[in-house]
């Protein structure tokens, strides 16, 4: 999952970014509203976290701007002043949820996960596709109730594929949503991850969870169990 974090206060931005990276997010940060809006328009994020009080361009204007540019991914706003005037204003501008500072990082993570899931059409934190269960909270994958051990990048790739189960996902999509902006992208790595995932999820070869659509990308083939 790739996340945009726009926060002008350096200590908070850095702690949050570090924690989000530890949780497996690809994090891009911006220090003011103008930079934030530029990145929000240019990069296909999965979710954005936007502080309301930003220099150069307010958080509200940023959210309004990215919605006007047609970006549909969920936005969570952070506000220091817990007044309803701010919250309602933020939600009206196009944000999907808010958190009042100070907050617990766990709360933020839970809200972000819920937003991402919701925007991909899932309602529960455990994504189920046939025998496969992906627990987004515990970052755990089970096949027929057996735990499958995955590396952090393997998990990221699988999570993205399962979130968009049934949809075609290109290699570019995958790299863009898994790596941060300045990462040296090599699409072969994705192929390696997918290959390993197939082996780990389907050692006997009778499940065939990930289809390769030649020259276009991948599709997670197991049907969603809602």
């Amino acid at each position: 999952m790739r996340v945009l974090l726009v926060e002008d206060e350096a200590p908070l931005r850095e702690t949050l970014a570090a924690r989000l990276q530890r949780e497996g997010f690809a994090v891009d940060t911006a220090v003011d509203g103008a930079e934030g809006l530029y990145m929000a328009r240019e990069v296909p994020f999965d979710v954005a976290i936007v502080d309301l009080g930003l220099p150069k361009l307010s958080g509200i204007d940023l959210v309004r701007g990215l919605r006007e540019a047609g970006r549909r991914y969920p936005v969570l706003i952070l506000t220091a002043r817990g007044s309803w005037q701010d919250k309602v204003e933020g939600l009206k501008s196009g944000a999907d949820d808010y958190l009042v500072k100070p907050f617990h990082i766990e709360e933020l993570l839970a809200r972000m996960n819920a937003l991402v899931r919701r925007s991909a059409g899932w309602s529960k934190p455990v994504l189920e596709c046939g025998p496969l269960k992906l627990d987004t909270t515990a970052q755990q994958v089970l096949v027929n109730d057996d735990v499958v051990e995955l590396t952090s990048y393997e998990y990221k790739v699988l999570e993205y594929l399962v979130l968009h189960a049934g949809e075609l996902v290109s290699k570019t999509d995958l790299t863009e949503h898994i790596y941060e902006q300045d990462f040296d992208r090599d699409s072969n790595v994705i192929e390696v991850f997918v290959g390993r995932l197939r082996k780990k999820l389907d050692p006997n070869g009778d499940l065939k969870p990930i289809e390769t659509v030649r020259g276009r990308g991948y599709r997670f083939a197991l049907p969603r169990t809602v």
């Binding site: 939600l91 949820d97 919701r118």
Partner: protein, 456 residues
Amino acid sequence: MSAAQRPLSVAARATAAASIVLAGFLGLTGFVLNQAFEQSATTALRERLQGYAYTFLAGTDIGVAGRMILPEIMPDPRLDRPGSGLYARLRGGEFNWNSPSGLDRQLPFDEQLAPGEFSFRGPVRSSEGDLYVLGMGIAFLLPGGSEAVFTLHLAEHEAALKAQTRAFRDTLLLLLGTLGVLLLGVLWLSLRWTLQPLRGVAKDLAEVQAGRAPELAGIYPRELAGLTESLNRFIQTERKSLQRYRNTLGDLAHSLKTPLAVLRGLVESEPDDDKLREGTAQQLARMDDIVAYQLARAAKSGHHTFVAPIRIGPIAEEVASGLEKVYASKGALCEFEVDEQAKFRGERGDLLEILGNLLDNAFKWSRGRVLLRVAYLAATERTPRRLQIVVEDDGPGVPNHQLDAVLQRGIRADERVQGHGIGLSIVQDIVQSYQGELAVGRSEELGGARFEITLP
């Protein structure tokens, strides 16, 4: 404002304006009076001369011998005194008589008048000075039955008239001048008296500023009462909000002291790291709650004297659609039964706090349905029309024995149970500041909690 820019004082303006009007008025009065007096003095002079003429003629006749008989005693002794300033001449044909006062003097008595004719001229310049001259044509019946025509001239020097008018003018000037000065003095005094209350207000205000008086305590004239009452209201509001700031600051500081003390205790004496971490986290959460509560309290205004009423419908719509987004994973929806005309007489921010906190609470507990009802309660004999805002949900509701605890009636801000909805206590604070009521109960329709606010 510097002295150079300060506009003229009210008293100075009034005095200047009055001086101009007064000067104009008194000047004109003086002029008119003087004219009238001069005219009447001239008329009096003419009548006097006429009187002399008749008296003179009464003693004059033509004798049987055809000789002119003149009066033995002149109508005025000045006619006998040479150069006295009063002169007479009777002339007709060969006859020419001059009063002793006018002997050998060049007098402007040349005119010939027909019998019955009068003339009055003056001042006429002559070698004897400026004179007022009366001429009169007379006919005497001669013994033969024929008539002899004469002209009688009388002249008086203008000096007497001049002296008279000068004396009058001097008196007039003195009187009018004194009157003017007196009037200005009275005006100035009355202005001082009129402006006295204003000076009183300024003085009282200075007392308030210096902290020696709580408010403008004097009794002021009706015209100033509006101003002083507004000032007093302003002073009171200022003082109240100052008091509120002090209280808030005091509350904040006091309520932070307890967790700080606990933290210090933990740091100084807790040997177990995990317990220290857990204890610290607890106290941090508590401090967080305290700060959040005080911040939210600062957001509410409590001022609602001069704001325009705002329609509730659109604002409720904004809050509800925002919350539907936030609680989208629940699929919760808010049903509206809102009177389109319903208006909130207060700050928009306060209304947002009330609706936001109540609806957020309802969404949080609901299983999918939230109901917002806004309507007016009809006036009864005892109470006027009141506004009612009801929020219901289909959640578990509030157990009966906890109804009071939820609102934490009579419990001070820093003593409230932690984590138990700062939102509700804020709503309660706001509703109280609008002299309204907040009640909690069970929803008959949805089965969950029911929060009801009635506002006057």
